[in-house]
Structures are given as structure tokens and as C-alpha cells.
Symmetry: C2
Subunit: 262 residues, 2 copies
């Protein structure tokens, strides 16, 4: 059964920021991403698939979705190509409700490590940071300032599905301040000219709960966030480069916290 | 003085892989990248700039290029937009000769750490790896298999200019084998199910010269390369993700080698 013009229009709208905000929904394409969603029990509101395009692995996944009572609707190849963002569509695409993005609502005391992203405007960098966050047990991320949308197609893809396993809050510096004050977090701020290495800071400043903050490559973290940091940490490197890629810097710091906490 | 139609056609050809191979030249756009080129003494064959579009910082850079006897040619905004790859051109673009890519020719005994990239097909990931390589004193990179082109515009951009400071070889597994045999390198191979952490491997297996090899996210390293490794190293992470992004994994390993060697 083909989808209606209106449905198609609404789906295509989800390729834009405006459309995602209006409909409070987002898309995830391809077997791998949808498998990750299923792994975290995040079920799409509806799954569209083009039977002629899908793999055996995708067929098995659709079976799982059906068992979870997800509506799985067949569509034509041509329609799939119209709603897909990627050039080489794998023939299946899920429509998800955008989760809540309020820090207080999302925060749970079980989160002992939180990532703070400030002005990470590139969706590829943000997605990569979120993937590393999940890998290193940072189950929550606060997204500040001009940080890219977590549920934009490029971010979802670069996250390799990690967006489905994380609490992702659109936050402000006041949220960071409140967590420091009320939930006993300390803040490690990445800074090109930081005082010490993360390894040193972790030993010198014992803490139960930690946030790692990473800012834009061009400007670093804001004075507001730097002012809240218990320490500004640097990642030592050769003087042949000015700085590391933001996703690399953030991931290295999260890994150091992860290794130290185990 | 406007550039001729033929010049314009040749420049536009450099946006394609075929054109770059044919002309043995590549482009680097924008103030930041061209500053990095200058820092490493890599001078463009010719620099094009649109006077109406450039910043003060770019003007100062053009002055430096002129002092180094680089031909700096004014062109019109419209022509700049035709040859630029980025949407928001900064009004200056350099044309560089593609350096040699032969491993034996590029190798120098001063290189004590070398990065090996196998099938890193995404230019963003390759560029990020090269930026980290330069940051962590890996002055040479061997690019194997279906690895992206180092001098493609996206790679150059993601490298933040690191391509100008590195020896970049298009290599084969035989080149890796020769370096191991003749130049006393040992190979640390990134593997999702590696035997031990890099920190452990570095202590357990002292070595004068090391290569770090990273493969594609989908398939990891080839059996050929894994077979040459003195150790397969893993990066410990939570079981909530299958693997890390290839650029993250490679950068973390290079950082561990860098920290250990200092």
C-alpha cells in the first residue's frame, strides 16, 4: 500500500530542523541504526520499508519490530528514495518521537559521569562525541549553545545509534551550575592551555560525580563554563598542531575518566 | 586580471579525484589551511585570491606568500566561487603540487612512530586521524587499501592542515612488512577483541620504533596486517557500543604511544 501525499510531505519535512521541531519526530535509516534503537528498547512510531530493497538482516529486524507491535508499512522503492537522506538507502526507515530534552526531567542520580558539549556545531563531531560518551559510560549529555541537533540525520548516523542509549538534554549554563551545586558534580573543562593533564586532575581531585566539558574548536569553552570548572585540563600534544579535533579531545578525556573509574 | 577559461577548467578539475591524479596537484582553501601550509614551508605553485572577499589576516598571509616568491593572482569573486569547494569561501585558494607517495622514498629513519590506515574510506575520518597523528608525533602515515585520498578537499580540511606536515605514503602490506623487517618496527594493531590494552602492550613489549594500525569500522584490519602485529590491542569500553569510531580509536592509541614515549 503506497503512502499518501500528505504522509510523504510530513516525512520529508523531518529532513529539516523546522519539520523535526514542528512534528516532534525524527528519522533513523538503515539496518544498523534501527538495530541499535531496538537494543535500547526505543521503538519507532512507524517503520517504512521497501521490500525489494532490503537485506535478510533487515527482514529479521522487521520481524522483531512487528513482535514489539511496531506498525511496519511497505512502501515502493521510489517513495523510499524520496524520504531517505542517504544516497544508498538500505530500504528501511523508522520514525521516532523526539524524547524530552529537559535537564531536570532527564537527570537521574545513577548518572555519575555527564558529557557537556558547548557550541559543537558540526553534527559529525557531535555524533562521534555521543558515540564515545556511550562507550565510556557517560549516560547523559548536556548540549549547550550552538551545539548541533542530536536528532538530525547526520548526528544520528555519526552516533552509530548511541543517541538511542543516552539522555540528551538541551541545557544552559544554569543547568550545569545546578548539577554542580545540588548533585555534587565536579567539572573537568577541556582547555588548550589547561593547568594539568586529566590523569593528574583525576588523582589530585577525588570526586564522586564528574562532568567533562568540551567546547568549539574555534573558541573553546565559554568563560561561564570555564569559571565553573574545578580544573581546566589539557591534552598534551606536539606543538605542530594548534589543537585537536573537538570530538577527539572530548573522547580522550572521557576515556581517561572511564579508565580511572573502573 | 581574470583567469582564462582553460585555467578555470583545470582548477575545477582539481575538485575531482581524476583531475587531481592527472594534474598531480591539489587545492587548499581558506586562511587557516594556507597558514598551516606556510608553517611547514609548503608553498603553493600559485595562489588565487578575490580581493573583495578576504580578511585582514588573509591579506597578511598573502604578503608572506609574496615574500616567498609565490605567484599570487587576483581573481573575481564569481570565479573564486566557481573553483571553491566550500559554500562560504574565504576568498583565497592555493594550488599545490601533490607530493611523492612512495613509501621507500618518503621514509626516513628519524620517524620512530608511524600510523597505518587500512581502508579508512571516509575523508573526514582520515583527515581527523592525520591531525591526531601530527599532534602525537606520528610524522608518517601509510595509507593502504581503500583509504580515502589524503589530498582530497574534505581530507585536507578535516586534517586542519596536518597533511602539510606529514609524510603520506600510498602503501601496501609489503611496505609494512619491510619496515618491520628492515627498520625494526613493531606493529600495534587495533582490534575490537584485542589481547590487551595499549598501556599494557607498551610496558610488556619494549620497542624502539612502533607502528599503530587502524582499519575500517565495518571490517577492522585485514588478516594480512593482523598477522604482522606484535600485539592486537583493544580499547576497553562499555558493552553498550559495538566499537568506537575509527578516528577515535586510532587517536586514542596514538596518544597512548605518545604519552608512553615522552
Amino acid at each position: 500500500m503506497p503512502i499518501t501525499r500528505t504522509e510523504l510531505k510530513n516525512l520529508r519535512a523531518l529532513q529539516t530542523k523546522k519539520g523535526r521541531r514542528e512534528h516532534m519526530r525524527f528519522l533513523a535509516e538503515g539496518t544498523r541504526l534501527l538495530e541499535e534503537a531496538a537494543r535500547f528498547g526505543m521503538w519507532p512510531k512507524i517503520l517504512y520499508f521497501a521490500p525489494a530493497m532490503i537485506s535478510e538482516r533487515a527482514t529479521a529486524l522487521i520481524e522483531r519490530f512487528r513482535e514489539a507491535r511496531v506498525t511496519c508499512q511497505e512502501i515502493q522503492n521510489r517513495q523510499m528514495e524520496q524520504i531517505a537522506d542517504t544516497k544508498t538507502s538500505q530500504g528501511l526507515i523508522g520514525v521516532f518521537e523526539t524524547p524530552a530534552t529537559d535537564t531536570e526531567q532527564l537527570y537521574h542520580p545513577k548518572y555519575r559521569t555527564i558529557l557537556v558539549c558547548e557550541n559543537i556545531a558540526d553534527p559529525g563531531n557531535l555524533g562521534t562525541l555521543l558515540r564515545s560518551a556511550l562507550a565510556f559510560n557517560f549516560r547523559m549529555a548536556l548540549l549547550l549553545g550552538r551545539t548541533a541537533e542530536p536528532y538530525a540525520p547526520k548526528t544520528v548516523r555519526a552516533s552509530a545509534g548511541a543517541v538511542f542509549g543516552l539522555a540528551l538534554a538541551e541545557a544552559g549554563v544554569d543547568d550545569v551550575a545546578r548539577l554542580i551545586k545540588e548533585s555534587a558534580f565536579t567539572l573537568l573543562a577541556a582547555a588548550v592551555r589547561g593547568e594539568m593533564s586529566a590523569a593528574r586532575a583525576l588523582v589530585d581531585q577525588p570526586a564522586e560525580r564528574r562532568m567533562v566539558a568540551v567546547g568549539s574548536e574555534a573558541d573553546g569553552l565559554s568563560e561561564a563554563l570555564l569559571g565553573m570548572a574545578s580544573v581546566r585540563v589539557r591534552i598534551d600534544h606536539s606543538s605542530d598542531v594548534d589543537s585537536l579535533n573537538a570530538a577527539i579531545a572530548g573522547s580522550i578525556l572521557m576515556k581517561e575518566v572511564y579508565d580511572f573509574s573502573r
